[in-house]
Subunit: 380 residues, 2 copies
Amino acid sequence: MADKNKVKVRVSEREKEKPKDIAKKIKGLAEGVVQEIKKHKDPTFITMQRGKGNVEFDEAQGFIVLGEKSTTRNFLNIGHARKFMQTMMVMAKSHNYLNENKTASIREIYYELKHTLGTTKENTFEEQSESDACIVDLEHAIDSIREKLNLHANPKGTLYGDITLKDRMHNNDTFNAAKLGRGGWSIMSRLEPDEIEIVSCKADYVLVIETEAMFERLIEEGFAKKHKAILIGTGGQAARGTRRLVHRLHTEEKLPVYVFTDGDPYGWYIYSVIKQGSMALAAHSEFLACPNAKYIGMTLEDVDDYKLQDVTEKMKDGDIKRAKEMLDYPWFQNKPWQNELKMALDRKIRIEQQALAHRSLDFVAKEYLPKKIKNEVFLP
Amino acid sequence: MADKNKVKVRVSEREKEKPKDIAKKIKGLAEGVVQEIKKHKDPTFITMQRGKGNVEFDEAQGFIVLGEKSTTRNFLNIGHARKFMQTMMVMAKSHNYLNENKTASIREIYYELKHTLGTTKENTFEEQSESDACIVDLEHAIDSIREKLNLHANPKGTLYGDITLKDRMHNNDTFNAAKLGRGGWSIMSRLEPDEIEIVSCKADYVLVIETEAMFERLIEEGFAKKHKAILIGTGGQAARGTRRLVHRLHTEEKLPVYVFTDGDPYGWYIYSVIKQGSMALAAHSEFLACPNAKYIGMTLEDVDDYKLQDVTEKMKDGDIKRAKEMLDYPWFQNKPWQNELKMALDRKIRIEQQALAHRSLDFVAKEYLPKKIKNEVFLP
């Protein structure tokens, strides 16, 4: 049957910008500031407004996007001056990183730039949240992502399956992620196409898995090989590097993405972030979202179909509140999800993916997943 | 100079027990219970007492050990009966795993065993904490570790460096952890010598690193290759799989272990767990501890030596409380640590490893670590 939720997935044009293009953009911004100073004008820095008021769900693209509202910071405004200075420091430093082929974590750039100004007692930055905010401003000002500024957050996530990657920045190391024993490859915090090349990928789909323990289970059962699947363990909410990798497999390799989480608000949220992106990173969905991703479970229907009543957990107050909010999310405005959320709220139970072990350890690999994939029993 | 803290490190005899030996021990325990029933006696299960009252620091071995106090559970005691039944269930299930060459996470065994008993409304287990406690009882009863019962907790931690591993349970995959790009190998939750073989290891020492971001930094700087180091990123408190790997490198490969954490109570605790083991796992130090490990930093002296005053953080009340407690720990009863802890309490500051970025991104790799290792500037 035709899938009306399916959108045409493509590699973003912005994806193609090289480090030197990004460096040029930063330089352009800086030169603008210099020109304003030379003309004795008030230097300005323009970035985008964030938050709910400037976020929308783009149905055609199938992901969350940032609106058009911009915001201007003036150096000669006592409320803006400190932040203006901080932004210039972050700009200059990331420009250095790009020129020197260095990358840094967002904690490192904070520490590199933090110092006491001249003979004052004033610090350039008091907390990492200040430099983090400047990084976000800069991402929006140059219309790209921090990874392309050679910045990154902490890594998390694991890869397993018949995919061969090449790291151009590390002796052109070329390795297959199905041949690293049962441990798998530790996904880097930053894996831009210029640096990490997908050499080949012999898989039918990507299975994104919430818990590392379930990821290990599926490896032990030989699931990836038998079903030609790429397995990606997120260990909870997916880190940016992991989201970039799933996105690249979805857009570059055109692989279907199935997301396998616990049946609870946290699991649904993990899924929706993989699929549609997040409010906080609305401007970057083009680099991160997988609009055709499907939710493979757990569901309340599974509880009945597979007799898991004994191994459900009670929803806590926080879960119930979250689930109620989710009923209103634009991307859950379809019958299957409305049913799922209402059923969960009605029965007030949640079901973990590891609860499938109640049937037997290999049940998830031998029956649950193959059957659901074969019969396309997904939530959209 | 002779290091009076140095102890002779050896591979434990208990390390050599094979899965069939462990299965035999479990069977022995079960047969004992059957005998007692046949003789119309009250069936008993003997395990070790845990907690502070039965934990001591063994100076000769250089790690924390469990004392001799045992505890007996009787089936015909209303307060013990439920736990007795649960323990028998866990015993039988892990015996199955060993026979079938299966492994399971401690969450999976909980779900496998959880069900409603007969026509009652009584569940075998209500919470994972119940089955976890049975697993600990069983470990002590057979005098081994859960990994040898084919059980494991969640994985966490990353490996990088010139070490070649072979996974005998996965097509004999053989791979070198310096040739996986900058991502490194994702350390499994369970890596027993029978399954994961250290084929070769061309390194001078192991550097255990608290944050994954610092781990990435050292890879980017080419530190491991230049200094023949194995890098292990723990991502906070080290998981059991990671501790097993560090322990194996320390005992099997006789490599020195240097631990690089933040200079604060959490970092010191990470170090002391790697080195001496932990109270909670006192019985398993022989499988986990690295008694000759050294603490390479961060220290308060570093703050002065490397002019990091601007990038220290204030200690919180919880940090101060923790540091005061640590003053009394047996393994910190030496002058260098007493000085360090007192200095921290005096100045009430903490220093993160990433704060070294204040000097420059490559400072840690080019100057800080090489200088400290060359001059043996360690805490014991």
